[in-house]
Amino acid sequence: MTPMQQIAILPYRKVIAIAMRGLRFRLVKTFLVTCCIALALAFLTYILCSNGMTAHLADRASDALQQRLAREGMLDQLKSADKQSQTAWMLGIALLISFVGIVNAMLISVTERFREIGTMKCLGGLDSFIVKLYLIESLFQGVVGTVLGMVIGVILAYVEGVGRFGGDTWNLLPPGELAVLLVVTFGTGIVLTVAGALYPAWRAAKMEPVDAMRSEV
Protein backbone atom coordinates (compact mmCIF):
# COMPACT_ATOMS: atom_id res chain seq x y z
CA MET A 1 0.00 0.00 0.00
CA THR A 2 1.26 3.47 -0.79
CA PRO A 3 -0.99 5.52 1.43
CA MET A 4 -0.12 9.00 0.28
CA GLN A 5 -1.08 8.51 -3.34
CA GLN A 6 -4.71 9.49 -3.13
CA ILE A 7 -5.35 11.34 0.06
CA ALA A 8 -7.47 14.24 -0.96
CA ILE A 9 -7.13 17.80 0.18
CA LEU A 10 -10.57 18.99 -0.83
CA PRO A 11 -10.47 22.15 -2.96
CA TYR A 12 -11.80 25.25 -1.21
CA ARG A 13 -14.72 25.40 -3.63
CA LYS A 14 -15.99 22.05 -2.32
CA VAL A 15 -15.41 22.91 1.33
CA ILE A 16 -17.26 26.20 0.82
CA ALA A 17 -20.16 24.36 -0.81
CA ILE A 18 -20.37 21.94 2.13
CA ALA A 19 -20.12 24.79 4.66
CA MET A 20 -22.87 26.77 2.91
CA ARG A 21 -25.14 23.74 2.88
CA GLY A 22 -24.65 23.45 6.65
CA LEU A 23 -25.39 27.12 7.23
CA ARG A 24 -28.58 26.95 5.16
CA PHE A 25 -29.68 23.88 7.07
CA ARG A 26 -29.21 25.62 10.41
CA LEU A 27 -30.75 28.84 9.17
CA VAL A 28 -32.09 30.14 12.49
CA LYS A 29 -28.79 29.64 14.29
CA THR A 30 -26.87 31.18 11.40
CA PHE A 31 -29.22 34.17 11.48
CA LEU A 32 -28.81 34.67 15.24
CA VAL A 33 -25.01 34.54 15.14
CA THR A 34 -24.96 36.91 12.17
CA CYS A 35 -27.24 39.32 14.07
CA CYS A 36 -25.00 39.18 17.13
CA ILE A 37 -22.00 40.16 15.00
CA ALA A 38 -24.02 42.80 13.13
CA LEU A 39 -25.17 44.45 16.37
CA ALA A 40 -21.68 44.74 17.85
CA LEU A 41 -20.22 46.00 14.59
CA ALA A 42 -23.10 48.46 14.08
CA PHE A 43 -22.26 49.91 17.49
CA LEU A 44 -18.57 50.13 16.61
CA THR A 45 -19.25 51.81 13.27
CA TYR A 46 -21.73 54.22 14.82
CA ILE A 47 -19.31 55.27 17.58
CA LEU A 48 -16.38 55.71 15.22
CA CYS A 49 -18.50 57.71 12.78
CA SER A 50 -20.01 60.08 15.32
CA ASN A 51 -16.66 60.54 17.08
CA GLY A 52 -15.15 61.41 13.71
CA MET A 53 -17.89 63.96 13.08
CA THR A 54 -17.47 65.57 16.49
CA ALA A 55 -13.72 65.78 16.03
CA HIS A 56 -14.19 67.78 12.84
CA LEU A 57 -16.75 70.25 14.22
CA ALA A 58 -14.05 72.87 14.79
CA ASP A 59 -12.54 72.77 11.33
CA ARG A 60 -15.34 71.65 9.04
CA ALA A 61 -18.62 72.94 10.51
CA SER A 62 -20.15 76.15 9.21
CA ASP A 63 -19.91 79.30 11.38
CA ALA A 64 -23.65 79.25 11.99
CA LEU A 65 -23.52 75.72 13.38
CA GLN A 66 -20.45 76.44 15.52
CA GLN A 67 -22.18 79.49 17.03
CA ARG A 68 -25.35 77.52 17.73
CA LEU A 69 -23.42 74.67 19.38
CA ALA A 70 -21.37 77.09 21.46
CA ARG A 71 -24.54 78.84 22.58
CA GLU A 72 -26.10 75.58 23.67
CA GLY A 73 -22.87 74.48 25.39
CA MET A 74 -22.88 71.28 23.34
CA LEU A 75 -19.35 71.60 22.03
CA ASP A 76 -17.74 70.95 25.40
CA GLN A 77 -20.25 68.30 26.24
CA LEU A 78 -19.53 66.38 23.03
CA LYS A 79 -15.79 66.47 23.61
CA SER A 80 -15.81 65.70 27.31
CA ALA A 81 -13.25 63.06 28.31
CA ASP A 82 -15.77 61.40 30.62
CA LYS A 83 -18.16 60.61 27.85
CA GLN A 84 -15.41 59.36 25.58
CA SER A 85 -13.99 56.88 28.09
CA GLN A 86 -17.48 55.68 28.90
CA THR A 87 -18.10 55.02 25.22
CA ALA A 88 -14.80 53.16 24.88
CA TRP A 89 -15.81 50.90 27.74
CA MET A 90 -19.17 50.16 26.24
CA LEU A 91 -17.57 49.46 22.90
CA GLY A 92 -15.10 47.03 24.42
CA ILE A 93 -17.87 45.22 26.24
CA ALA A 94 -20.03 45.02 23.10
CA LEU A 95 -17.17 43.49 21.11
CA LEU A 96 -16.34 41.10 23.94
CA ILE A 97 -19.95 39.94 24.20
CA SER A 98 -20.05 39.41 20.47
CA PHE A 99 -16.79 37.42 20.61
CA VAL A 100 -18.05 35.24 23.46
CA GLY A 101 -21.29 34.75 21.52
CA ILE A 102 -19.42 33.49 18.48
CA VAL A 103 -17.22 31.12 20.50
CA ASN A 104 -20.27 29.81 22.32
CA ALA A 105 -22.36 29.30 19.18
CA MET A 106 -19.50 27.52 17.40
CA LEU A 107 -18.76 25.30 20.42
CA ILE A 108 -22.41 24.28 20.61
CA SER A 109 -22.33 23.53 16.91
CA VAL A 110 -19.28 21.27 17.44
CA THR A 111 -20.93 19.39 20.31
CA GLU A 112 -24.16 19.01 18.38
CA ARG A 113 -22.44 17.66 15.32
CA PHE A 114 -20.15 15.10 16.99
CA ARG A 115 -21.66 12.31 14.96
CA GLU A 116 -21.42 14.18 11.68
CA ILE A 117 -17.78 15.08 12.34
CA GLY A 118 -16.96 11.52 13.43
CA THR A 119 -18.64 10.14 10.34
CA MET A 120 -16.74 12.49 8.05
CA LYS A 121 -13.52 11.30 9.67
CA CYS A 122 -14.57 7.67 9.19
CA LEU A 123 -15.12 8.41 5.51
CA GLY A 124 -11.58 9.76 5.19
CA GLY A 125 -11.99 13.44 6.08
CA LEU A 126 -8.77 15.02 7.34
CA ASP A 127 -8.42 17.26 10.40
CA SER A 128 -7.60 20.15 8.09
CA PHE A 129 -10.91 19.68 6.27
CA ILE A 130 -12.85 19.95 9.53
CA VAL A 131 -10.91 23.08 10.55
CA LYS A 132 -11.56 24.68 7.16
CA LEU A 133 -15.24 23.79 7.36
CA TYR A 134 -15.67 25.59 10.67
CA LEU A 135 -13.54 28.58 9.75
CA ILE A 136 -15.41 29.08 6.48
CA GLU A 137 -18.78 28.85 8.21
CA SER A 138 -17.66 31.42 10.73
CA LEU A 139 -16.02 33.65 8.11
CA PHE A 140 -19.21 33.73 6.07
CA GLN A 141 -21.29 34.75 9.09
CA GLY A 142 -18.58 37.26 9.96
CA VAL A 143 -18.58 38.92 6.53
CA VAL A 144 -22.37 39.12 6.30
CA GLY A 145 -22.74 40.29 9.90
CA THR A 146 -19.97 42.86 9.62
CA VAL A 147 -21.20 44.38 6.37
CA LEU A 148 -24.73 44.51 7.74
CA GLY A 149 -23.46 46.11 10.95
CA MET A 150 -21.41 48.68 9.05
CA VAL A 151 -24.41 49.75 6.99
CA ILE A 152 -26.63 50.03 10.07
CA GLY A 153 -23.92 51.87 12.03
CA VAL A 154 -23.28 54.45 9.30
CA ILE A 155 -27.01 55.07 8.83
CA LEU A 156 -27.50 55.52 12.59
CA ALA A 157 -24.56 57.90 12.89
CA TYR A 158 -25.76 60.07 10.02
CA VAL A 159 -29.40 60.07 11.12
CA GLU A 160 -28.31 61.21 14.57
CA GLY A 161 -25.88 63.68 13.00
CA VAL A 162 -28.58 65.30 10.89
CA GLY A 163 -30.72 65.65 14.00
CA ARG A 164 -27.93 67.45 15.86
CA PHE A 165 -25.95 69.28 13.23
CA GLY A 166 -28.46 69.61 10.39
CA GLY A 167 -27.20 69.79 6.78
CA ASP A 168 -23.62 70.31 7.95
CA THR A 169 -23.45 66.61 8.85
CA TRP A 170 -22.63 65.58 5.29
CA ASN A 171 -19.47 67.71 5.26
CA LEU A 172 -18.16 66.84 8.70
CA LEU A 173 -16.48 63.52 8.00
CA PRO A 174 -13.92 63.60 5.14
CA PRO A 175 -14.50 60.67 2.70
CA GLY A 176 -10.94 59.45 3.21
CA GLU A 177 -11.46 59.17 6.95
CA LEU A 178 -14.78 57.42 6.47
CA ALA A 179 -13.09 54.88 4.19
CA VAL A 180 -10.30 54.20 6.71
CA LEU A 181 -12.90 53.84 9.44
CA LEU A 182 -14.88 51.31 7.42
CA VAL A 183 -11.76 49.28 6.62
CA VAL A 184 -10.86 49.20 10.32
CA THR A 185 -14.38 48.10 11.25
CA PHE A 186 -14.42 45.41 8.59
CA GLY A 187 -11.06 44.11 9.77
CA THR A 188 -12.25 44.08 13.38
CA GLY A 189 -15.34 42.07 12.42
CA ILE A 190 -13.38 39.47 10.47
CA VAL A 191 -10.66 39.08 13.10
CA LEU A 192 -13.34 38.76 15.78
CA THR A 193 -15.24 35.98 14.02
CA VAL A 194 -12.26 34.00 12.80
CA ALA A 195 -10.55 34.22 16.19
CA GLY A 196 -13.80 33.13 17.82
CA ALA A 197 -13.98 30.04 15.60
CA LEU A 198 -10.34 28.94 16.06
CA TYR A 199 -10.76 27.04 19.31
CA PRO A 200 -14.09 25.40 18.34
CA ALA A 201 -12.61 24.38 14.96
CA TRP A 202 -9.59 22.86 16.69
CA ARG A 203 -11.87 21.00 19.10
CA ALA A 204 -13.89 19.63 16.17
CA ALA A 205 -10.76 18.52 14.31
CA LYS A 206 -9.46 16.72 17.41
CA MET A 207 -12.65 14.65 17.73
CA GLU A 208 -12.09 10.96 17.23
CA PRO A 209 -13.74 9.14 14.33
CA VAL A 210 -14.97 6.61 16.87
CA ASP A 211 -17.33 9.32 18.18
CA ALA A 212 -19.49 8.49 15.17
CA MET A 213 -20.33 5.20 16.89
CA ARG A 214 -21.61 6.85 20.06
CA SER A 215 -25.31 6.28 20.26
CA GLU A 216 -26.11 8.65 23.14
CA VAL A 217 -26.10 12.38 22.50
Partner: protein, 249 residues
Protein backbone atom coordinates in the same frame (compact mmCIF):
# COMPACT_ATOMS: atom_id res chain seq x y z
CA UNK B 1 -6.82 -19.59 18.18
CA UNK B 2 -5.27 -18.30 14.96
CA UNK B 3 -6.82 -19.74 11.85
CA UNK B 4 -4.98 -22.19 9.68
CA UNK B 5 -5.48 -20.13 6.51
CA UNK B 6 -2.47 -18.58 4.84
CA UNK B 7 -1.47 -15.04 5.73
CA UNK B 8 -2.15 -13.48 2.34
CA UNK B 9 -5.75 -14.58 2.41
CA UNK B 10 -6.29 -12.77 5.71
CA UNK B 11 -7.69 -9.29 5.55
CA UNK B 12 -7.57 -8.74 9.31
CA UNK B 13 -5.10 -10.24 11.75
CA UNK B 14 -5.06 -9.41 15.43
CA UNK B 15 -2.22 -10.93 17.42
CA UNK B 16 -2.15 -10.85 21.21
CA UNK B 17 -4.13 -7.62 21.33
CA UNK B 18 -4.42 -5.97 24.71
CA UNK B 19 -6.20 -2.77 25.55
CA UNK B 20 -6.38 -1.08 28.89
CA UNK B 21 -8.59 1.89 29.72
CA UNK B 22 -8.04 4.12 32.72
CA UNK B 23 -11.08 5.10 34.69
CA UNK B 24 -9.83 7.34 37.45
CA UNK B 25 -7.40 5.23 39.49
CA UNK B 26 -8.82 2.02 38.15
CA UNK B 27 -7.49 0.16 35.15
CA UNK B 28 -10.01 -1.69 33.05
CA UNK B 29 -8.70 -4.40 30.80
CA UNK B 30 -10.98 -4.28 27.77
CA UNK B 31 -9.01 -6.82 25.75
CA UNK B 32 -6.75 -9.40 27.38
CA UNK B 33 -4.73 -10.79 24.52
CA UNK B 34 -7.06 -11.44 21.63
CA UNK B 35 -6.00 -13.47 18.61
CA UNK B 36 -8.34 -13.10 15.73
CA UNK B 37 -8.22 -13.25 11.99
CA UNK B 38 -10.66 -12.75 9.18
CA UNK B 39 -10.37 -14.23 5.72
CA UNK B 40 -10.82 -12.09 2.65
CA UNK B 41 -14.44 -12.28 1.57
CA UNK B 42 -15.68 -13.69 4.84
CA UNK B 43 -18.93 -12.62 6.52
CA UNK B 44 -18.25 -12.60 10.22
CA UNK B 45 -20.29 -11.59 13.24
CA UNK B 46 -18.80 -10.40 16.52
CA UNK B 47 -20.98 -11.10 19.50
CA UNK B 48 -20.70 -10.40 23.14
CA UNK B 49 -22.49 -8.66 25.99
CA UNK B 50 -21.74 -5.02 26.71
CA UNK B 51 -18.43 -4.74 28.55
CA UNK B 52 -17.07 -7.82 26.80
CA UNK B 53 -14.57 -5.79 24.78
CA UNK B 54 -16.54 -6.30 21.61
CA UNK B 55 -16.66 -2.60 20.73
CA UNK B 56 -12.98 -2.16 21.53
CA UNK B 57 -11.97 -5.01 19.23
CA UNK B 58 -14.37 -3.77 16.60
CA UNK B 59 -12.87 -0.26 16.72
CA UNK B 60 -9.37 -1.63 16.30
CA UNK B 61 -10.34 -3.65 13.28
CA UNK B 62 -11.83 -0.44 11.92
CA UNK B 63 -8.65 1.56 12.40
CA UNK B 64 -10.40 3.73 14.98
CA UNK B 65 -8.33 2.72 17.99
CA UNK B 66 -4.84 1.37 18.62
CA UNK B 67 -3.87 -1.50 20.94
CA UNK B 68 -1.62 -1.07 24.01
CA UNK B 69 0.10 -4.34 23.21
CA UNK B 70 -0.08 -6.83 20.39
CA UNK B 71 -0.62 -5.93 16.77
CA UNK B 72 -3.50 -5.42 14.42
CA UNK B 73 -2.93 -5.85 10.70
CA UNK B 74 -5.48 -4.64 8.21
CA UNK B 75 -4.65 -5.88 4.75
CA UNK B 76 -1.10 -6.57 5.96
CA UNK B 77 -0.64 -3.05 7.35
CA UNK B 78 0.16 -2.66 11.04
CA UNK B 79 -2.26 0.05 12.15
CA UNK B 80 -0.09 1.09 15.10
CA UNK B 81 2.57 2.24 12.63
CA UNK B 82 0.27 4.58 10.73
CA UNK B 83 0.23 8.36 11.04
CA UNK B 84 -3.02 10.30 11.38
CA UNK B 85 -3.13 10.98 7.66
CA UNK B 86 -2.35 7.36 6.77
CA UNK B 87 -5.14 6.25 9.09
CA UNK B 88 -7.50 8.63 7.28
CA UNK B 89 -6.36 7.07 4.01
CA UNK B 90 -7.00 3.60 5.39
CA UNK B 91 -10.49 4.55 6.54
CA UNK B 92 -11.21 6.19 3.22
CA UNK B 93 -10.03 3.41 0.92
CA UNK B 94 -9.97 0.14 2.83
CA UNK B 95 -12.91 0.28 5.20
CA UNK B 96 -16.57 1.10 4.70
CA UNK B 97 -18.46 1.96 7.87
CA UNK B 98 -22.10 1.26 8.60
CA UNK B 99 -23.50 2.62 11.83
CA UNK B 100 -26.39 1.71 14.06
CA UNK B 101 -27.64 5.29 13.80
CA UNK B 102 -27.13 5.45 9.99
CA UNK B 103 -25.08 8.67 10.34
CA UNK B 104 -25.97 10.22 7.04
CA UNK B 105 -25.03 13.87 6.76
CA UNK B 106 -28.46 15.41 7.46
CA UNK B 107 -28.02 18.44 5.22
CA UNK B 108 -27.01 16.40 2.18
CA UNK B 109 -29.02 14.40 -0.35
CA UNK B 110 -28.53 10.66 -0.76
CA UNK B 111 -26.36 11.39 -3.77
CA UNK B 112 -24.17 13.89 -1.90
CA UNK B 113 -23.82 11.48 1.00
CA UNK B 114 -22.53 8.72 -1.26
CA UNK B 115 -20.30 11.17 -3.13
CA UNK B 116 -18.57 12.44 0.03
CA UNK B 117 -16.09 9.54 0.50
CA UNK B 118 -15.39 9.69 -3.23
CA UNK B 119 -14.49 13.36 -2.96
CA UNK B 120 -12.25 12.58 0.02
CA UNK B 121 -10.56 9.99 -2.22
CA UNK B 122 -9.91 12.65 -4.87
CA UNK B 123 -12.24 11.10 -7.45
CA UNK B 124 -13.23 13.74 -10.04
CA UNK B 125 -16.77 15.07 -9.44
CA UNK B 126 -18.37 13.64 -12.59
CA UNK B 127 -16.89 10.17 -11.99
CA UNK B 128 -17.93 10.39 -8.35
CA UNK B 129 -21.49 11.23 -9.37
CA UNK B 130 -21.68 8.31 -11.81
CA UNK B 131 -20.33 5.94 -9.20
CA UNK B 132 -22.74 7.24 -6.54
CA UNK B 133 -25.76 6.88 -8.84
CA UNK B 134 -24.68 3.35 -9.76
CA UNK B 135 -24.32 2.40 -6.09
CA UNK B 136 -27.68 3.92 -5.14
CA UNK B 137 -29.30 1.93 -7.93
CA UNK B 138 -27.56 -1.18 -6.67
CA UNK B 139 -29.05 -0.76 -3.19
CA UNK B 140 -32.47 -0.13 -4.72
CA UNK B 141 -32.69 3.65 -4.30
CA UNK B 142 -32.31 4.74 -7.92
CA UNK B 143 -35.51 6.78 -7.59
CA UNK B 144 -34.46 8.62 -4.45
CA UNK B 145 -31.03 9.99 -5.19
CA UNK B 146 -32.10 13.58 -4.46
CA UNK B 147 -33.93 12.78 -1.24
CA UNK B 148 -32.56 14.02 2.05
CA UNK B 149 -32.24 11.70 5.06
CA UNK B 150 -35.34 13.21 6.75
CA UNK B 151 -37.40 12.29 3.69
CA UNK B 152 -36.41 8.63 3.93
CA UNK B 153 -37.35 5.75 6.20
CA UNK B 154 -34.78 4.12 8.47
CA UNK B 155 -34.33 1.21 6.09
CA UNK B 156 -33.79 3.54 3.15
CA UNK B 157 -31.31 5.61 5.13
CA UNK B 158 -29.36 2.49 6.01
CA UNK B 159 -29.34 1.54 2.31
CA UNK B 160 -27.80 4.92 1.52
CA UNK B 161 -25.26 4.25 4.27
CA UNK B 162 -24.43 0.87 2.69
CA UNK B 163 -23.97 2.54 -0.71
CA UNK B 164 -21.78 5.19 0.90
CA UNK B 165 -19.70 2.56 2.69
CA UNK B 166 -19.02 0.81 -0.63
CA UNK B 167 -18.11 4.00 -2.52
CA UNK B 168 -14.35 3.51 -2.64
CA UNK B 169 -14.46 -0.27 -3.12
CA UNK B 170 -13.29 -1.04 0.40
CA UNK B 171 -11.88 -4.41 1.35
CA UNK B 172 -13.88 -4.44 4.57
CA UNK B 173 -17.44 -3.47 5.34
CA UNK B 174 -17.54 -2.74 9.05
CA UNK B 175 -21.03 -2.68 10.48
CA UNK B 176 -21.79 -1.65 14.05
CA UNK B 177 -25.21 -3.06 14.98
CA UNK B 178 -26.52 -2.25 11.50
CA UNK B 179 -30.02 -3.49 12.31
CA UNK B 180 -30.18 -2.06 15.85
CA UNK B 181 -32.45 0.82 14.89
CA UNK B 182 -34.56 -1.04 12.34
CA UNK B 183 -37.66 -3.16 12.62
CA UNK B 184 -37.30 -6.86 12.02
CA UNK B 185 -38.37 -6.92 8.37
CA UNK B 186 -36.29 -3.90 7.32
CA UNK B 187 -33.35 -5.24 9.31
CA UNK B 188 -33.64 -8.51 7.47
CA UNK B 189 -33.56 -6.70 4.11
CA UNK B 190 -30.38 -4.85 5.12
CA UNK B 191 -28.73 -8.10 6.21
CA UNK B 192 -29.68 -9.68 2.89
CA UNK B 193 -28.32 -6.68 1.01
CA UNK B 194 -25.01 -6.92 2.84
CA UNK B 195 -24.84 -10.65 2.17
CA UNK B 196 -25.53 -10.08 -1.54
CA UNK B 197 -22.82 -7.46 -1.76
CA UNK B 198 -20.49 -9.75 0.14
CA UNK B 199 -21.04 -12.39 -2.51
CA UNK B 200 -21.16 -10.17 -5.60
CA UNK B 201 -18.40 -7.69 -4.70
CA UNK B 202 -16.30 -10.01 -2.57
CA UNK B 203 -16.21 -7.44 0.23
CA UNK B 204 -15.42 -8.79 3.69
CA UNK B 205 -18.22 -8.04 6.15
CA UNK B 206 -17.44 -7.68 9.84
CA UNK B 207 -20.39 -6.90 12.00
CA UNK B 208 -20.91 -6.34 15.70
CA UNK B 209 -24.41 -7.46 16.47
CA UNK B 210 -26.97 -8.77 18.88
CA UNK B 211 -29.27 -9.67 16.03
CA UNK B 212 -29.84 -13.39 15.57
CA UNK B 213 -30.98 -12.82 11.98
CA UNK B 214 -27.43 -11.71 11.30
CA UNK B 215 -25.98 -14.94 12.62
CA UNK B 216 -27.88 -17.11 10.19
CA UNK B 217 -26.12 -15.49 7.23
CA UNK B 218 -22.66 -15.21 8.82
CA UNK B 219 -19.88 -17.58 7.80
CA UNK B 220 -18.45 -17.45 11.28
CA UNK B 221 -19.37 -16.03 14.66
CA UNK B 222 -16.88 -14.91 17.28
CA UNK B 223 -18.05 -14.66 20.89
CA UNK B 224 -16.29 -12.31 23.22
CA UNK B 225 -16.47 -12.52 26.98
CA UNK B 226 -14.38 -10.56 29.48
CA UNK B 227 -11.89 -9.34 26.91
CA UNK B 228 -11.11 -12.69 25.30
CA UNK B 229 -12.62 -14.56 22.41
CA UNK B 230 -14.43 -17.35 24.12
CA UNK B 231 -15.17 -19.36 21.02
CA UNK B 232 -15.74 -19.33 17.29
CA UNK B 233 -18.59 -21.06 15.56
CA UNK B 234 -19.21 -21.83 11.92
CA UNK B 235 -22.67 -21.31 10.50
CA UNK B 236 -23.28 -24.99 9.88
CA UNK B 237 -22.52 -25.65 13.56
CA UNK B 238 -25.23 -23.28 14.60
CA UNK B 239 -28.69 -24.29 15.59
CA UNK B 240 -30.57 -21.07 15.41
CA UNK B 241 -33.91 -20.85 17.05
CA UNK B 242 -36.07 -17.84 17.61
CA UNK B 243 -34.49 -15.91 20.46
CA UNK B 244 -31.67 -18.27 21.25
CA UNK B 245 -28.51 -19.58 19.75
CA UNK B 246 -26.87 -22.82 20.69
CA UNK B 247 -23.81 -24.44 19.32
CA UNK B 248 -24.14 -28.12 18.62
CA UNK B 249 -21.32 -30.11 20.14
Amino acid sequence: MIDDVTTSAQIVRAIGVRKVFRMGDEEVQALKGVNFSVRRGEYIALMGPSGSGKSTLFNMIGGLDKPNAGRVFIDEVDIAALSTIELAWLRCHKIGYIFQTFNLIPVATALDNVMLPLLFADVPATDAQDRAVELLKKVGLGERIFHKPVQMSGGQQQRVAVARALANNPAILLADEPTGNLDSKTGHAIIELMRELNESEGVTVISATHDYKMLSVSDRIAWLTDGVIERFAKRDELDIKEGSTDVRH
